[in-house]
């Protein structure tokens, strides 16, 4: 098209740099497929971004902290500026954290940003996970990514715990002691495991250095890898979207990555950083100087882990102190049972997608999200899980509930013991009813329109409320979901009158399927025909 040949034309500098890079990295191909990647707009799709950005903030501030933190348990005497600890013996880890907090420029702010960002990171992951759960975004093809996300959440818990333990203060030391107790409660190998982790009898002189490399190297390394895989899969699967006009299972309606989402996401990073920095600037977190250095002979009341481990604390606090003594050995069921339940609580939510897929037998891909009300059983299960989690959190903070609401700690413990079983069941029933009510309302809205609040008097004296019909787009959105039919086992005898063999597993599946999609569990969505019938009859209904 041009008379000037390539060799003669002097390309602009930017293009030459890009050319240079393309020749070596192949960026044009990558950019072509990814720069115009479309993302749908919804605030709940940004919850994952909150996690990503707080993770980046944690890494940035964490690097700064490693420059000044000494992961050593050598005993030193404190001579820093904080008067109430002057002359007190403490580990180098604690002393260097004191140094970061009181002497390093910006140290306390960075420490608080690091810790607040960690709380936000894990809270964000939980909320993000719940968003994915309640909208059914974990369905095929995203099951693996669901597991990646779950692993990130689990690793986040342990990275948080190891980080919380590093300053070697009296609070976290009590947590580390707690963990020793947990290990010791494991039958047969417990004492070996504890000795192995702490390099001898607790507390020993090793655990800070060990937790340090786990906290700054091992776990974040794995998490970074999982995070990248998680994001690559998000790109590969494309983002899910809520149903709406023009949105199908085969397209994504939204804005392109470049320039719109680059700007939005980039801006959102700074907003997240800003919010966390403001929190860290105004609110104290983990004031280790107030807790004092760890000494195995000291302990304080109100020793709790950070919130994300609170439910495990709750499990242990509410467990009766059962133990079995036999043949000179003690089996501490009061600790061992809770630590067996602890991972099960988490795993319960992780395996849910596979259970649901098995019940529905659905092998198709799903890119359109469910509205939680349209899947009452799943929503009920999710709310039941959250209820269990919250009740256990109450158990973990039973002393604070007691002092701040003037209750008996024993009564709270009994409440938690009973409601950790009853609460989820009640929550499930309530949620399911609620969802069905919302489905009925949707059906009503589609068929009869929205209540306008305008009362009309008819010539013969009757009063009616005028209903405004919905716009077609709204009606589409309310009726776009598909409704499964419950699985039928078929007749119990075959054509020859011989009893058919149905495996118990099949029976269970049919039962679950009925629970999911039977008449009790979903309200039939209005059909076009029903709508036609109602609207064609000209008068009111």
């Amino acid at each position: 098209m041009s008379t000037v040949t390539d060799s003669q034309r002097k390309a602009p500098a930017g293009e030459r740099v890009a050319d240079w890079a393309d020749g070596r990295l192949g960026i044009y191909g990558l950019a072509k497929t990814n720069m115009r990647k479309i993302f749908p707009d919804h605030w709940s799709f940004m919850l994952g971004e909150i996690c990503l950005y707080s993770f980046i903030i944690i890494i940035l501030t964490g690097v700064y902290l490693t420059l000044f933190f000494h992961p050593s348990m050598n005993e030193v005497v404190y001579h820093g500026p904080y008067a109430p600890l002057q002359g007190v013996r403490m580990s180098e880890a604690y002393a260097s954290t004191m140094n970061i907090s009181f002497e390093i420029r910006g140290g306390l702010l960075i420490r608080q940003i690091h810790h607040w960002a960690a709380l936000i990171f894990i809270a964000g992951m939980l909320v993000h996970m719940m968003r994915v759960f309640f909208t059914g975004a974990f369905r095929k093809p995203r099951e693996v990514n669901w597991l990646f996300g779950f692993l990130l959440f689990m690793l986040g818990l342990f990275t948080g715990f190891t980080g919380y333990s590093l300053p070697d203060d009296l609070l976290s030391g009590t947590g580390v002691r707690f963990m020793e107790g947990v290990l010791l409660s494991v039958p047969v190998v417990g004492s070996y495991m504890a000795m192995f982790l702490y390099g001898g009898e607790f507390p020993g002189g090793d655990f800070v250095a060990r937790f340090y490399s786990i906290h700054v190297l091992l776990l974040p390394g794995i998490m970074l890898g999982l995070l990248v895989a998680h994001l690559i899969l998000v790109f590969y699967h494309k983002h899910t979207q809520f149903a709406g006009p023009g949105r199908t299972n085969k397209n994504v309606v939204g804005m392109p990555l470049l320039p719109v989402y680059m700007a939005k996401a980039g801006g959102f990073f700074f907003l997240v950083f800003g919010v966390i920095a403001v929190m860290a600037a105004v609110a104290s977190i983990n004031p280790i100087w107030a807790m004092g250095p760890y000494r195995p002979d000291q302990v304080s009341t109100g020793a709790q882990p950070d919130w994300y481990m609170g439910f495990s604390e709750g499990l242990v606090r509410i467990m009766p102190g059962w133990e079995i003594n036999a043949w000179g050995h003690t089996l501490v069921l009061g600790v061992f049972i809770p630590i067996v339940i602890f991972p099960l609580v988490l795993v319960a939510i992780a395996v849910y997608p596979f259970i649901e897929a098995w019940v529905t037998g659905d092998k198709r891909e799903h890119h359109i999200l469910d509205r939680p009300r349209n899947v009452p059983t799943r929503t009920g299960v999710g709310v039941a899980w959250i209820t269990l989690y919250l009740i256990l959190l109450v158990g973990g903070g039973n002393d604070l509930w007691a002092t701040h609401f003037h209750l008996s700690i024993n009564a709270i413990t009994w409440f938690v013991r009973i409601f950790m079983f009853v609460g989820p069941v009640l929550a499930f029933i309530f949620t399911k009813r609620w969802c069905l009510g919302l489905q009925r309302r949707d059906r009503e809205k589609v068929l009869h329109g929205r209540e306008s609040g305008v009362i009309k008097r008819l010539p013969h004296g009757e009063f009616v409320e005028i209903h405004q019909p919905l716009k077609p787009a709204e009606m589409h959105t309310l009726t776009a979901h598909e409704q499964y039919k419950p699985l039928e086992i078929g007749p119990s005898v075959d054509e020859n009158g011989v009893e058919r063999k149905v495996s118990p597993l099949q029976k269970l599946k049919a039962k679950l399927s009925k629970g999911y999609y039977g008449g009790e569990s979903q309200i039939e969505k209005p059909t076009a025909q029903e709508h036609e019938e109602i609207t064609s009859g000209h008068g009111h209904h």
Binding site: E49, S284, G310, L400
Partner: protein, 269 residues
């Protein structure tokens, strides 16, 4: 010496030794025991006791008995000492409003003069810990760091790291130490009110009590600094988690909704 040695196996030797030991203990006790009311100015002291008895009959006798001997509703006050009265009445715990797991502090209804009279009367029922003088509980010049160490060893189990208080069984609790008078902290350690163990001078010398008071006043007093910003109750991870969820994640979700609501408009062609 030989005589003594020869008779040491005499049947009555044990009795003699026992008598000697009893005499020695009794004598030593008489010599060193707190003087009680004996040395005070007789007239003003007995006047205070008389006044205190009147106050006692009106405000205390219904539960503690007319002579302080105790009833099913309240313990005996014989031997609790004036320090216990000064603490219980001086912090408003007594007279109690109602029975319960623990009597909480409330508005003080007696004047200090009346409290002193009540204390004098109760102290006259039997010797016990005496209300400390200002010099005893004055923490100026005390070792704060030592106090912190002692606090974490002896007090933090119930009162939390910096004296924010904590829960005990069945509705009982260790109260917050924020804003508590140095005198009352000292007295509490001396007498061990309600569910608290006592720390008499034999286990916790006066100097150590002063150290502890100095520590509490430094980390949880009226002028204590909170180096990291808002203290969030000083309760540790539970209140931090609550703050993180409500204000941190809450703000971020609000920001996310705001960002999502402001999307690029399609270009008008």
């Amino acid at each position: 010496m030989k005589k003594l040695s020869a008779r040491r196996r005499h049947p009555l030797a044990a009795v003699v030794v026992l008598l000697l030991a009893l005499a020695a203990t009794g004598g030593l006790y008489a010599a060193f025991a707190p003087a009680g009311t004996a040395q005070a100015d007789e007239t003003s002291q007995s006047l205070a006791i008389d006044e205190g008895k009147k106050l006692y009959s009106v405000g205390c006798a219904s539960c503690h008995g007319t002579g302080g001997q105790g009833t099913s509703d309240g313990p005996s006050l014989v031997g609790v000492g004036s320090a216990a009265v000064d603490f219980q009445v001086g912090t408003g715990r007594m007279p109690a409003q109602q029975p319960g797991a623990q009597v909480p502090k409330k508005k003080v209804i007696y004047s200090q003069a009346e409290i002193d009279q009540l204390a004098a009367y109760v102290a006259s029922l039997g010797a016990g810990p005496i209300t400390p003088t200002e010099k005893q509980y004055d923490s100026a010049g005390a070792d704060i760091a030592k106090g912190g160490d002692l606090f974490r060893t002896n007090c933090a189990q119930c009162h939390n790291f910096t004296g924010e208080g904590g829960a005990l069984t069945n509705g009982k609790f260790a109260p917050s130490l924020e804003g508590v008078d140095a005198k009352h902290i000292y007295e509490a350690m001396q007498v061990g009110p309600q569910n608290m163990p006592s720390f008499p001078d034999t286990t916790m010398p006066e100097k150590n009590k002063q150290d502890i008071i100095a520590y509490i006043k430094t980390v949880n007093g009226d002028n204590s600094a909170s180096q990291g910003g808002l203290k969030l109750g000083g309760l540790g991870p539970v209140s931090e988690g609550l703050f993180g969820w409500i204000f941190g994640l809450g703000a971020l979700v609000a920001v996310a909704i705001w960002v999502a609501a402001h999307t690029a408009k399609a270009k008008k062609s």
